[in-house]
Amino acid sequence: MRSRISLYGLTFSLPLLLWQLLFFVFPLLFLVALSFWTVKNFTMRPDFDTVNWVTIYGRAVFWQAYATTFVMAALAALLTSALAFPAAYAIAFKLSDTARRWAVFLMVIPFFTSYLVRVYSWQIFLSDNGIINVLLGGIGLGPFPMLNTVGATMVGFLTLCFPLVVLLQLFSLAFIDRTLIEAAHNMRCGRLRTVFEVVIPSARVGLSIAALFAFILCFGDFVSPVYLGGGEPTTLSILITDTTKSGQQWPRAAVIALTMIATLLVVAFAAIRFAYKGRSK
């Protein structure tokens, strides 16, 4: 294929490049600049002052939120991966081709429903007079306070990530060499042992990437922590919305956002290193 620069080639390649530079790279770079601006009398001034960084990093609230967010996102990633794996495994190995296609189609549907609406719907299930407590009350239990707990936030996180993680895991399981599994079985390797010693290692890249996506999604989500978790404990995304929307302290919000991006980059790098460990040899 020819690769010299031509008007023809540029017509197709340039528009997206320009768009993403102008409206994706520049905004993110501007965030860096913004974090050094100062706010006086509710107006922002271009400046080069580390005051925002010092203020935010000097606050216990921030570090608490940071730890909370990190732990909750990591927990959600592990939980989602663990709960999704049996489903992905069963869909990949136990269903007929037709049934598998339907299963995939059904798993795609949630992507086109509003996450907000689904979260609101979980309120109907989890509230004190909600469906679950009414059902439990029917057999003489409860009511259990479920809304506005960390558990409810986790339900929201699962709602957010579960379909994506199942699909990504399914995708990686589909590429496993079936003869490897057969070989393991021939050598009298039990079912469970085959799963842990053949299937999971073979699908490690996909499984790690799936968990990484779950982590990224939950780390940045503010809907579940607010509307299912009741805003307690405070997460970084809640801090950002509060700082931006009510506080008008955009430079400080920028500091939080940049810290989140840095964290995500480190986590993504570590996850990808782990995923491909020993593969390149």
Binding site: I109, S121, R191
Partner: protein
């Protein structure tokens, strides 16, 4: 019209190109058969009915979890109770009526449609260009180009929202529908690119050079060969990106100002009183999005059949 155009390069080359059309049909059943026998062999040894049944139950539970909120939202949108729970109240269309008579909802819907349609068209165009660039060209910095083209959806929406708000208000673009469109295209174009790229990878790499050899210019080849071949993917991308834009609320919430889209209104309802109106809107948006997705799916799955027809002429 377009059918003739696709047929043109194919019919001139009866020896080479029809293979493109017939190969997948011939290969697919054989491959499926091979897979089937392979999986049979793998299953026979360690098959255990109890485990299989447990896995079946697990699949059902997984889907129950995924669809519980969707189904509940649908059911309670027709329920008269102010605070939705069981036992169900009367069946009513009150919430739909409340939504339909709310001028703010209509305004939100108008904004959503406006933003969604333009976002869909622009994202599809940009995504097509990027997919074609990746398909055809090798150049220094291609990795960076692809990263720029595909990364935006992985940035948390809240950070995108903040960055967009700060940046766009700096260049006096924030607080209107245009700012929502700009931000949505950033997020949606990667989806359009991925869909189109997938389609291009199914194209015989010899097809384009063949058209050139027959004297077509690059532009003519684009118009008469590549675009017709990608047509299902282009429409698929259009519908999918529109559906993504219809549901996006976080970035829109940050940048939209007074021109709120429907999902941003829903966010407002969530913040205020618990309101079953959300269910009515959600069901409406769900039906709209699903219609778009199913249209896209039909287009994307009929492509092989269509392509066979055109090449057979």
């Amino acid at each position: 019209m377009t059918q003739d155009m696709t047929a043109l390069p194919l019919s001139v080359h009866p020896s080479g190109t029809p293979a493109v059309a017939t190969a997948p049909t011939a290969k697919a059943p054989a491959a499926a058969k091979a897979r089937k026998t392979a999986s049979h062999g793998a299953h026979d040894l360690n098959r255990n009915r109890g485990v299989d049944a447990a896995l079946w139950v697990y699949i059902l539970l997984a889907y129950a979890f995924v669809f519980a909120p969707i189904a509940a939202s649908f059911i309670f949108s027709f329920n008269s109770d102010r605070f939705p729970s069981i036992p169900l109240g009367e069946i009513s269309l009150d919430w739909y009526r409340a939504v339909a008579t709310d001028p703010l909802v209509w305004e939100g819907l108008r904004n959503t449609l406006f933003v969604g349609v333009i976002t869909g068209v622009v994202s599809t165009l940009l995504g097509f260009g990027a997919a074609y660039t990746d398909y055809r060209y090798k150049f220094a910095g291609k990795q960076v180009y692809l990263a720029l083209a595909l990364l935006p959806p992985t940035i948390p929406v809240i950070i995108m929202g903040l960055a967009m708000l700060a940046y766009l208000s700096r260049v006096n673009l924030s607080g209107n529908a245009l700012s929502v469109i700009i931000s949505h295209v950033v997020v949606c174009a990667p989806f359009a690119m991925a869909i189109t790229r997938l389609r291009l990878s199914q194209m015989d790499p010899a097809l384009e050079p063949a058209a050139w050899n027959l004297g077509a210019s690059e532009w003519q080849t684009m118009r008469h060969v590549i675009i017709p071949f990608c047509k299902p993917a282009i429409f698929g991308a259009l519908f999918i990106t529109m559906a993504v834009s219809f549901d996006e609320f976080a970035v829109a919430w940050f940048v939209s100002g007074l021109n709120e889209t429907l999902p941003v209104k829903v966010l407002g309802f969530l913040q205020g009183q618990v309101s079953p109106r959300i269910n009515a809107i959600g069901t409406f948006v769900f039906v709209t999005s699903m219609t778009l997705v199913i249209l896209a799916q039909l287009l994307l799955s009929n492509r092989d059949a269509k392509f066979r027809n055109t090449s057979g002429e």
